[in-house]
């Protein structure tokens, strides 16, 4: 449903423009361009062009068919798992969350391959830990709740 996406973008553009007009000055006291100049131009342009795109969509009379239900189910599942993974990282840190995410996701996507899935779920976090934490001295997400492991 492209039109629904466009309407959501229009709502965002209206909110963005409202903030630009309400909170941000067009000019500074010294007569220079203020912080609201660019946002106002962007906001108004976004509203106009989005409205145009919505009208085009309505005029064309297309009823967009967004693939089959199976495709949507697959992508929705992966998105849900990814969002769940983001929350798990916040709670349990990078290592544990990655293992759990991979174990769960692979058990759904790659059924009947328990040994292979467990190997991937174990080796990938280990590799990532070695790469980021040990080799590159970069940050790995810390746990909010420490597990007794």
């Amino acid at each position: 449903m492209r039109i629904a996406f466009l309407v959501a973008l229009l709502a965002a553009a209206v909110f963005y423009s409202y903030t630009a007009f309400a909170d941000l000055g067009f000019m500074t006291r010294t007569g220079r361009l203020g912080p609201g100049f660019f946002p106002r131009v962007i906001g108004v342009s976004a509203i106009l062009i989005t409205l145009w795109a919505i009208l085009d969509e309505l005029r064309s009379g297309r009823i967009s068919r967004d693939g089959d239900a199976r495709a949507w189910a697959d992508v929705a599942m992966l998105m849900a798992l990814a969002v769940g993974y983001a929350l798990l990282i916040r709670l349990f840190g990078g290592m544990v969350a990655t293992f759990v995410f991979l174990a769960v996701t692979l058990s759904i996507l790659n059924r009947g391959q328990l040994v292979k899935n467990m190997m991937v779920a174990t080796l990938v976090p280990a590799f990532v830990y070695l790469l980021f934490d040990w080799l590159l001295n970069a940050n790995m997400p810390p746990a909010l709740i420490e597990l007794p492991i």
């Binding site: 500074t28 220079r32 361009l33 203020g34 946002p39 962007i42 996701t105 590159l136 001295n137 940050n139």
Partner: protein
């Protein structure tokens, strides 16, 4: 002689054991990224940018550049063996690459694509070596008005190339511009769209958005397309053929093709927005029109594979010219490269080569070495890439999610940025699904703050008058070139589109 001395200095910077290791890793990773369907150089660069944070800037930029042009080499392997382009710039390589493989000539096709890529890439780097200092000289007279116009030129040309969906492209660009306004306004110190969040004071960081849009967004889109269910399809068995190496006839018949396509690809690559995809399609079309046997195109003609391969690699090199000398990225991939430069506190532009000669010439010198390394890797590591193609998407997908998430977090140790990346991934999926342009969004996010700063400086200089844009000679030149490009690029686009559709038709017919 100056250029030669600079190049030698660049080589001395590039040739250190650790830099060579970074270069080889970058080249290999770039090829792997190119091999994976759905992931192009911009996705590879965005996902792997955080990995380079612990490195020294020269090694890191060399590695990222190698990922960038390495992806062009890798993308063709799947075009030849699977009839599935690794990314859009290798679509034209399927027209004759796959028929060659089906005719029992996969080995020669793989070798010739590697050689063509090497020739295109190397000619491109030679032209960079000669032309980049000249571009730098010209752009030294540029001030804020010219920078604003250049940023607008970069955006306009990209939007023109989007074609019929231009309105959705403009909306994508406006989203990028809007995101670029978040944070403290540097001139007045006033917060914009921060909503009291301390994390947003510094603005919306480029990397989470790029990783989300190009990494997760593309992955979700691939899942939507069912790539995790269908698998990669049947791979042509190149190793059972009698003859792996090309014949003398292959070399002789394509030597002029390589010369023509190198120049064409480079010129198209320099134009912001045009890029490697258009270059490869144009080269294919040109080659067919000058060929004595145009009827063989689409049925396994070696020149039909060599032309797009040479052109897309030369175009990748050409795109480095506006990036290095003007600081204006012409594509999503070079926008990610620009972000990498900015991360290390370097601002590509007219004075870049003068102020950072070691880095600039080290990068150019590394591209010579990188192309040589890629030639060897892409011939001798074919079995490795075939194994990678065989890794099911249902295993690769979750692994990409992990790398995107942890890579984003590692940059600034920020959970907000990580959540932002997931959000950008979901939005990126819908943008791809509904015909919007994630590339325009990313380009606008990078160019927006630069354009705003330049415009405000310009109007301060001119005391609010927009006439400054036609009063300055360099500005007038840029305006003229922009108008010419906006008029000329749709023709290029149409030619590319025609080539793509006729290539598909021939394939369907053959």
């Amino acid at each position: 002689m100056d250029i030669f001395a600079d190049l030698m200095m660049g080589l001395s910077v590039a040739i250190t054991p650790i830099n060579i290791v970074y270069l080889l890793i970058g080249a290999l990773v770039g090829m792997i990224v190119g091999v994976i369907p759905g992931f192009g150089p911009s996705a590879g660069l965005a996902i792997l940018l955080p990995v380079t944070f612990g490195m020294d800037p020269i090694g890191a930029i060399m590695m990222l550049a190698a990922i960038y042009y390495g992806a062009m080499y890798g993308g063709t392997i799947t075009s030849i063996l699977l009839n599935t382009p690794g990314e859009s710039a290798t679509v034209a390589s399927t027209f004759d690459g796959f028929p060659l493989a089906k005719n029992g000539r996969a080995g020669p096709a793989l070798v010739m694509q590697a050689v063509a890529s090497f020739v295109g890439g190397t000619v491109g780097v030679i032209l960079i070596t000669i032309l980049a200092p000249m571009f730098s000289q010209v752009s030294r007279s540029f001030g804020p008005p010219e920078y604003f116009l250049l940023a607008m030129m970069g955006m306009l040309t990209l939007l023109v190339m989007i074609g019929t969906n231009w309105k959705l492209g403009v909306i994508s660009a406006l989203i990028g511009f809007a995101l670029g306004t978040v944070g403290v306004d540097l001139e007045t110190g006033q917060g914009r769209y921060t909503f009291g969040s301390a994390e947003l004071i510094g603005g919306i960081y480029f990397i989470p958005i790029a990783i989300g849009l190009f990494g997760l967004g593309e992955l979700f889109y691939a899942f939507y397309g069912g790539l995790h269910r269908t698998g990669t399809g049947a791979i042509v068995q190149y190793d059972k053929e009698e003859r792996f190496w090309p014949t003398a006839q292959d070399w002789i018949s394509t030597r002029l093709t390589m010369a023509r396509s190198s120049i064409l690809g480079f010129v198209v690559g320099v134009i912001p927005g045009a890029g490697a995809t258009i270059a490869s399609l144009m080269a294919y079309s040109t080659e067919r029109s000058v060929s004595k046997n145009p009827e063989n195109f689409g049925k396994g003609e070696m020149a039909g594979l060599v032309a797009p391969e040479t052109a897309n690699n030369a175009a990748s090199s050409g795109a480095m010219i506006p990036l290095l000398t003007l600081g204006i990225p012409g594509s999503a991939s070079t926008a990610v490269l620009l972000a990498a430069f900015l991360l290390w506190g370097m601002r590509p532009g007219p004075l870049f080569m003068e102020q950072n000669p070691e880095l600039a010439w080290g990068l150019i010198a590394s591209m010579y070495l990188g192309n040589m390394a890629l030639l060897a890797i892409s011939i001798f590591a074919i079995p490795l890439f075939v194994q990678i193609i065989k890794v099911p998407y249902r295993i690769l997908g979750p692994t990409v999610v992990v790398i995107c998430a942890l890579g984003t977090f590692s940059v600034n140790a920020s959970f907000i940025e990580m959540f932002l990346m997931f959000g950008a991934g979901i939005v990126g999926f819908f943008m791809r699904l509904y015909g919007f342009s994630p590339a325009a969004l990313v380009l606008a996010l990078v160019l927006g703050p630069l354009a705003e700063e330049a415009l405000r400086q310009t109007l301060t200089i001119s005391r609010g008058s927009f006439m400054i844009f036609i009063e300055r000679t360099p500005s007038l030149w840029i305006l003229g070139i922009t108008i010419a490009l906006v008029a000329f690029l749709p023709l290029l686009n149409r030619l590319g589109g025609k080539t793509a559709s006729s290539g598909d038709a021939e394939k369907a017919g053959s």
